[in-house]
Amino acid sequence: MAQPVIEVEHLSKRYVLGTREFGYKTLRDALTGVFRKTPASDEDELWALRDVSFQLHEGEALGIIGRNGSGKSTLLKILSRITHPTTGRARLRGRVASLLEVGTGFHPELTGRENVYLNGAILGMSQHEIRRNFDQIVAFAEIEQFLDTPVKRYSSGMYVRLAFAVAAHLTPEILIVDEVLAVGDTEFQRRCLGRMHEVATSGRTVLYVSHNLWSVEQLCNRAILLSSGRLVRFGKPSEIIAEYSDRRGASSWDVSAIEDRSGTGSARITHLELLATDAHQTLSSVEFLKPFRVRIHFEARRPIARPDFGLAVLNERGERILVCMAAESGCDAESIDGIGWADCIVMAPCLLPRTFRFEAWIIDVRGLSFADRVEMVGQLDVGLGNWTEHEVGQLQVDWRGSIYVPSEWQIKPTS
């Protein structure tokens, strides 16, 4: 086989968190730092990428799959030369264009026409190339009449269409794309995907990140799975997607067979289910600060009058982080008998991006006892949602504990 186009060897990237090295410093920090050399401890470090190696040949399209914070974006940023790796090396053969966002460098005051030239140049196109493709770009974006209007007056749809149109006419040997299809309407997304497919099948090498697994399967002939910064597997997209779906965990857990439980057994919790708040879809993970619904399925062996339900979120050591109870929330059931479910909608969760477990119970109020109680069941993965890398870094460190509460500060220097 021919020489690979992309060779990645033992690539790692470490971020040092905390006030001293992360974010900007002030001169005072630097000056005092000279005298107080405290080495960064392990818990202030975050390995966004750890010892990743793979090779890619000409014409291959690689899908990069993994959960938020698994290192996908960091890998793309290193290969795009936006940030330096901490260790390791990579070689890329040919012109590299990266598209980590559509419309990078668009200036709101400039017109659509002017922004095409500006954005094209920033993405690495020559003026000659842009001129040659100009009509096609405008046609693809369908914004002919607004070509001389400042883009600040564009609707968000027009803006995205124009931005993607410029990017779609990049013709590098290696194209790096991050989640750009998540914008625009369905029809436009379909056209973008078609365009990407053309690029991928015209002998160029593509690296593609998307949460849309279907598009990865459509577009790519190779895939890697990243988890906590490590490369878990390299292979065919269908295999990798299957493994990812397995790992991502279920959204429903059968607890009927668990023997380690307490209570009289007058009712039994059969399984737990994680749902979106509207109960229309199941979730395998939830987003940071976003409400979710947990459904406790049960079977009462005999009628229980005025039962109470409880749900607790536990950390990985089994300590209770949150407790939600039905009766105190004003939800009283007259009685239960047979099969049923109780839904707990966690309205304002303050759980940090971590993995948690559940504890659930049914109380027989009249009997003043637990009818049933199970703990350390299921799995609640809190993902990062729309939080930026910077903030995420600060949230993922261990010393933050398990919950996040917005705070307001007032500082008064004593002078």
Partner: protein, 280 residues
Amino acid sequence: MPDSVAVTMRWTEIDAEAPAGRVDLAELWRYRELVQILVWRDLKVRYRQTLLGVTWVLIQPLLTTLIFTFLFNRVAHIQAGGGIPYVLFVLAGITLWNLFSSGVQSAGNSLISSAHVISKVYFPRLIIPAAALLSGLADVVVTACLLIVLMFWYGVAPPLAVVLAPVLVAICYFLALGGGLWLAALNVEYRDVRVLIPFLLQFGMYVTPVVYPLTALPDRFRRVAYLNPMTGVVEAFRGALFGTGVPWGALIWSMAVTVLLMISGIAYFRKKEGIFADML
């Protein structure tokens, strides 16, 4: 595949151990169009949606000249010396000083104002401060035209040495770029710099003979004043325009400082380049 069949494929090497600091001139040359377009953007955006548009480029130095002439010449009785009208004297000083100060200011803050692009696209980062400074050069051209018109008005004919003027503008540009590179890179890590720049520049204007001639200073101060690299450039610029003599010694000192600042500035900038995206 129109563009992909290149005879010699370029390799991009990414290596954690690679020494930083070397400047890839060939790469900078490939990105020359981006420099052009960034300068063009700066110029276009600056006066868009302003009522007076490009006339601002004229109004600013004109008003400054009038105010300075009133304050320092009429009120404080500072004379230009050499029979040169004070208006011309101060406008010549402002022309170069504005290039320097707006250049240092825009270059120094350039990385922070381009933070978003830096975190999303790669291109040689040196382009950003260099382009930020180039748009200031356009202002110099306009101010220079104003200066030429006023010289005609006052009947001041430039000597042969006037051919030196563009060279002096270039020295001033690189002096500002050298300083701007240092400040831009430092600014990413230490935001104190953002606060420090205006203060430094204000101080700088008073220690540079912009509103007063160097001859107005006592001897021992004059020698200290020459340590300021802008002193030689501004004095030589006036000498070239009005035939009052070029202070060669001071000019050579200015050029030496310029070269030193450029080399060290580029080295420091390149060394810190890898952390820009992580720090911004």
